[in-house]
């Protein structure tokens, strides 16, 4: 694995170039250009606030500012998770010519797709900061957790992206499975709602490795409190295992890519 990572490092310029290409190409010939990177999270946040407002009316509770902020804070990373998995899933099959014609470490494709989505995430986060300032959400020392959370999240999707991209190269079914899972995943991930709303049963939802990460985001930013470290540790371990497993899975299948695509 170290050998492979060293080779990946040698090809780092290619990694950035492919990511830049993905970013540039995505918004080429579109009138709104980079504004699309903002619009998607805005739509999700809008939907989330609407849903949350619905919950509040149904349960007869007052909806306070920090709840709205929590939805917004969780929606942006969620948009990143979904888009990077969806985007990287097709990253190999969309580059057939390169996969079959030229040698280089092919994990660059899914990883660059994740990096390109991370760029969108950065743009959306910048907008989010403005929203949070408008909502007059304060700050705390727990904000220092944020880079760590982003790293964990990236590691997790990087692992998943390598698995789904290699999988869909051999069986196009994987693409449809991923689409279906991503469509319904929002119901099983605490983005629009809070796990605490489910009391004791909430812990089952936390088994979804994305849940503790999103929850930590909202704890750190919206509620100014320390995230649940034991659940966060679970996510970190899960992300590490996924990354290592995804990488070895990818490397194992890589030699067969050119003749199977």
């Amino acid at each position: 694995m170290t050998e492979g990572l060293r080779e990946l490092y040698r090809y780092r310029d290619l990694f950035y170039t492919i990511a830049c290409r993905d970013i540039k190409v995505r918004y080429k010939q579109s009138a709104m250009g980079f504004l699309w990177a903002l619009l998607m999270p805005v739509l999700i946040v809008g939907a989330g606030i609407t849903v949350r407002y619905g919950f509040a009316i149904a349960s007869g509770k007052h909806l306070d500012r920090s709840d709205i902020a929590a939805v917004a804070v969780k929606s942006v990373p969620w948009a990143f998770l979904v888009s990077s998995i969806r985007f990287s899933c097709m990253s190999l099959t969309n580059n057939t010519a390169l996969v079959t014609k030229i040698y280089f470490p092919k994990e660059i494709f899914p990883l660059a797709a994740v990096l390109a989505c991370l760029f969108d995430f950065a743009v959306a986060s910048a907008a989010l900061v403005v929203v949070l300032l408008v909502l007059k959400i304060g700050w705390s020392v727990y904000l220092l957790y944020i880079p760590f959370l982003i790293m964990t999240m990236t590691l997790l999707v990087a692992g998943i992206s390598m698995i789904v991209s290699a999988g869909s190269l051999f069986f196009r079914d994987v693409k449809y499975i991923v689409e279906a899972v991503l469509t319904f995943a929002i119901f099983f991930t605490p983005v629009f709602y809070d796990v605490r709303m489910f009391g004791d049963k909430g812990k089952w939802l936390m088994l979804n490795p994305a849940a503790p990460i999103l929850d930590s985001f909202s704890d750190c930013v919206a509620h100014q409190q320390c995230p649940d470290l034991s659940w966060l540790a679970y996510s970190v371990v899960f992300a590490l295992v996924t990354f290592v497993a995804g990488y070895s899975f990818f490397k194992r299948l890589e030699p067969a890519f050119a003749e199977s695509i």
């Binding site: 090809y11 290619l14 170039t17 540039k24 190409v25 030229i102 196009r172 030699p255 067969a256 050119a258």
Partner: protein, 426 residues
Amino acid sequence: MSDVALRMEHVYKMFRKGELFNSLRDLVPALSGRMFSRQDLNAGDRREFWALQDLSFEVKQGEAFGIIGHNGAGKSTALKILSRIMKPTKGKILVNGRLCALIEVTAGFHQDLTGRENIFLHGTILGMNKREIRSKLDQIIAFSGLEEFIDTPVKRYSSGMFARLGFSVAAHVNPDVMIVDEVLSVGDYVFQQKCVQRMKEVIRGGAAVIFVSHNLKNIAEFCQSCLLLERGRVVRVGSAQDVISTYMKRASSEHAVDDEMPVRVSKVTVRNRHGKSLHFQSGERAWVDVELRANSRCDKLSITIYLLNGEFENVFDTSTERLGHGNFTLEKGDVYHCTFELDLNLANGIFHPSVLVYRYDTQTLFDKWEPAATIHVNSETDVRGIANCFPKVVRQELQLPGELNGGRRIMVEAAAGVALEINRKD
């Protein structure tokens, strides 16, 4: 041993013929079918296809090595294994240093990006880093000759421009081992000459070049040694000249004999005035003997003889019908002989005389032998292209602006040479 740039040791590659399972829906019935019936299992084995068998060779630094063979001989598979895109089923490969494969020079391009952006993209794909590309950017653009269009998205390029840009990037990689697959047929003639020049520089710079081409002329020009592949096996390795002549001899022997055909071309011989030969001087007279055998009565037959060049483009063709020798009828069992006389006013290069026999009025093709032979034409003067017009310079004149009226520098001399003499007015 350190001067070995590349080595292949007993490499085998097996493919399975037929459709691979592309979705789970196909896989499940196929697997269960395999479990329940032995027959299917055997059928699976029969679909095995060995694209390469026991391929071994070695290329030293600064050496150009050619691989030739017919379509489907395994050349491209060999290249893909060399460039590590495919893994051999068996065997070992050793590559010393950075390898760059010019298999598909435009593979890395993205339609929506500009020429400049694509240079960076394709350059990094080929293994350069950004700093390296930035330092060579001007060279690359100048080489491609696309200065004007470099900031236009490449989807607006013509296919020729596209390929030129691709080759320009690839030509500036400076690898230790370079693999070239037919890319020299890119662009117009002037650009091709530029490419040939650049390849020679790369070789002179100490890189090893593996060169795969149908163009035997290019192989002969570039490569010291060469390998001939036939159906995945090595037929011959050795000096380029020897291997090319082996290939030329074998090319003519490969003609399927089919007794079902009403009439077939049974023999084609090319000779000069001394006898059978495959090497000709430009302008020399050649005779092509064609023998036909009829298996049943055939009416209104005509024979077409044509020449293909090294790239398998038709450069000349005629037929007995068109030469005013009418058409002829053969009875069952007849053997027919016909000799064509040709003046080979051709430029340097490799040509393939080919023959086909057909029924004139219905244009029914009975048999085609392509190439029936491979000949090498050698020209004493340096003429390029296809035809040889036997050029001479017979007059050279220089007119200076100040001496428009009457005063001329005649730099000429005519007749048979290029003797230059300057007649000054003073």
